[in-house]
Structure formats: C-alpha cells, structure tokens
C-alpha cells in the first residue's frame, strides 16, 4: 500500500453519505448525491491510476466528468418537467 492507494481507500468512505442520501431523501436530493458521487469516483480513479501505475484508469477519470455532466443535465431536465 502506498499513499495513493490509502487516499483512494479513504475516498471510498465518501460513497456512504451519497448512498444514504440517495436512499433516504427525495429524488432531487438523490441527484445532488449522484453528482457528488461522480466527483468522488473521478478522484478515486485518479488516485488508483497513480497507485497502480495504470494510465488506462486515468482515461476513465477523464471521461467521467463529461458523461456525468450530460447525465445530470438530462435527469434535471426530466425532473423539472415532470412534477
């Protein structure tokens, strides 16, 4: 274990509050939790990429913010239009 993998392991704890909000709060709150989980995932992949020295993980981390952004816009549009 190096400092990168310790950091990635610590970041995994951040999924617990996001999952809690997704399960217990309203759907629009769950969307906010989903955005935060996407950020946590991207940072975890960056740390794992350095920790395991695998550059392919960084490619996923690069694509994730764009895909998460489009997904969030679509879900927000859907939720705003359907009360």
């Amino acid at each position: 274990m190096n400092v990168w993998l310790w950091g990635a392991t610590g970041l995994l704890v951040g999924f617990v509050p996001c999952g809690w909000i997704s399960l217990r709060a309203s759907r629009i709150d769950a969307l906010v939790a989903l955005q935060t989980a996407g950020t946590v995932t991207a940072l975890t992949l960056v740390l794992l990429s350095e920790g395991f020295d695998r550059s392919s993980y960084m490619g996923v981390a690069l694509a994730l913010p764009f895909l998460g952004f489009v997904g969030t816009l679509l879900i927000a549009r859907f939720m705003g239009g359907h009360r």
Partner: protein, 94 residues
C-alpha cells in the same frame, strides 16, 4: 519519510479530507439548495489538490496533465450542473 513523500501525503490527505467533509455536509444539510453548496465545494478545491499531488509526483507529463484536466473539467462543468439541478428543484416546488 522524505520531504517529497511528506508533500504528497499533505496534498492527498487534504484532498481526501476535504472531499469527505463535503460528503458529510450532504447528510447534515436539510434542503437541496444547502446540499448543492457542498456538492459544488467537492468539485472545486479537492480535485486541484489531488492534481497538484500527481504533478509533484510525475511532473508535467501525461498523467500530471490528465489529472489537471480532470480537475479543471470538474471545476467548469459542476456549476452548470448545479444550476440545472437548482432550477429543477425550484420548478418541482411550485
């Protein structure tokens, strides 16, 4: 522990703790607008701390630049997503 490892530990530790505090803020806040503040804070400073840690380790090579691109992308697109989410929350409240 060398100074290089110490700097890496401080940068990564600060990034991880900042991110975890933002995640805890999601649970502690009461409404969607307050939670959005924490979601946006999670995509502002902590990604840059992690990116700086990668640049300190790798220099201005492909992994360092990729980590910086991830941080800048999160910093730029998250406010737009937050705005769309807040608008959806507002229209659902009416």
């Amino acid at each position: 522990m060398t100074p290089h490892e110490l700097v890496l530990g401080i940068l990564i530790g600060s990034g991880v703790v900042g991110e975890l505090l933002c995640c805890a803020g999601l649970v502690l806040m009461r409404n969607v607008y307050a939670r959005l503040h924490y979601a946006m804070a999670a995509s502002s400073l902590p990604p840059f701390l992690v990116a700086v840690a990668v640049i300190v380790e790798e220099g201005w090579t492909q992994p360092g630049i990729n980590a910086l691109v991830v941080a800048v992308t999160l910093f730029l697109v998250s406010p737009v997503a937050a705005h769309a989410t807040a608008r959806a929350a507002r229209s659902r409240r009416r």
